[in-house]
Amino acid sequence: MIVLSINGQDTQVDVPEDMPLLWVLRDVLGLNGTKFGCGMAQCGACTVHLDGQAVRSCVLPVTGAVGKKITTIEGLNATDLGKRVQQAWLGIEVAQCGYCQTGQIMSAAALLAAKPTPTDADIDAAMSGNICRCGTYVRIRAAIKQAATGQLTLPQTIA
């Protein structure tokens, strides 16, 4: 039996030691908010927090998460910062198809926890591993800034 701390709750799972954390979250525990994209840490859709760091759960063997605090999109609203990010995402209406947004939001929340007022370069660096096929990048940047400042931010437009 492996014990995981997920969204503040200790959870027991009976899975092979090398099973990716994403499989455990989705297929064993039914936490389907975290998405499967590429399965090889290339797209960012499966991003969760491990002790506050954004990691790709599709290539993280479950034993690598033992003893650490796992936060998924389902548990993000437990912090003020998490709530602010969610509000900003809603306010800006970032999502288009939405599939990558779990990962985008988790990466953004980890960035803001480490750097409360990120520069554009900080955002580029932290978000570079999260791919959005719909091209919502401009709105993602605006939402991160809105969550950081608390002020309404207009997405950059082509002037």
Partner: protein
Amino acid sequence: MKIGRIIGTIVGVVVLIAIVFTAYALITVTHGGNEQATQPVGAGVPVDLPTTMARGEYLTRAADCEACHTAPGGQPFAGGVAFKLPFGTIYSSNITADKETGIGDWTDDEFVRALHAGVDNKGQPLYPAFPYTSYTALSRDDIVAIRTYLASLPAVHAPARPNELSFPFNQRWTLSLWNAAFLKKERFQPEQGKTEAFNRGAYLATALGHCGECHTPRNHGFAMKSGKALAGAELEGWRAYNITSDKEHGIGAWSDQELIDYFSKGHAAGRGTASGPMGEVVGYSLQYLTPSDLASLVAYLREVKPQQGSAAPAAAAAAPTATTASASPGEQLFVGACAGCHLESGQGRQTNYAMLTGLRSVRDPHATNLTQIILNGSSLHVGGQEVFMPSFGRAYSDAEIAALSNYVVSHFGGQQGTLSAEDVAKRR
């Protein structure tokens, strides 16, 4: 006429010497050296051996038998691991207690002789991929303890895979000649005037851990160059780094704690992460060493004669170089495919093990180990967890992997990467 006679005499003498040498080699091949030697200082198990671990199990782990005798996904110690050598492929043998296909029928004396002389229970020479050249220094007591532990494990029926060697390397008797020329059948001798920790470390590094089998360069006869101990070598596509006490080329600049972290966790921040064959050494062997043995191993390595490894990358620490205005193809690949786990700064995010800065593998202009890891991925089993990187060999072309490797080497290692697509193709 006269010249003809001189040549005839010389040929005759050479043939005679060859016959005498061959006879000597064949007669002595099954001799193990002094079998009556008492247990030397430095041999055995450490005082802080956990009570839950048998003597033989500890020694078996310290001698790292499992890495070579367990095939990927196979039963422990059942053999079948392929060793690709310049003259063909050989497969490790089944050393479980199975009577038919393993070593269940061997006597203790035969097992001791195998490690001391490099011959099987019938007296047939074994190939020196089996590191009897190092194990010959093991004490009899320790070998018998290993044997007892192996015999206590489940017997696995697994017939040996026949070796695929070209002539004359498929002639086992010729190894008698090699042994006569290169194998010193001598037991470990503690060095007088050195500390107990040094001597214990020497026994761990040479007789048990056989570090030199990978880390010491070999001569034209494929025997370890004793004057170049642990100066670094390349084998099976991987570079075994210079681990002498040289500060620039070896590990002289590492702190004690960094060395201990590397041995016990497979990772020393800013220094190195164990991958490939060394990852197996950490996973199967080094992580189980007790604190006192780790300290002894460090004490020994500190005194290994410094060597300037020929192909060893210089240790000059390099800060990531500034990015140019337009991203190179290598940088684009890194940002897209690697930065998700390693971060653009190379500091690593996915796990501590994902840190790239400071590693020797990113300072090697030939990017030997770097390309192996990119092509094949990496998997390290340590401390009850698996540290894992997927392989990218099938996802990217030779040219892309060359560009990526050169970018990593220049950006994180401050070296001029020289890899071409052809180089990568050869390493696949």
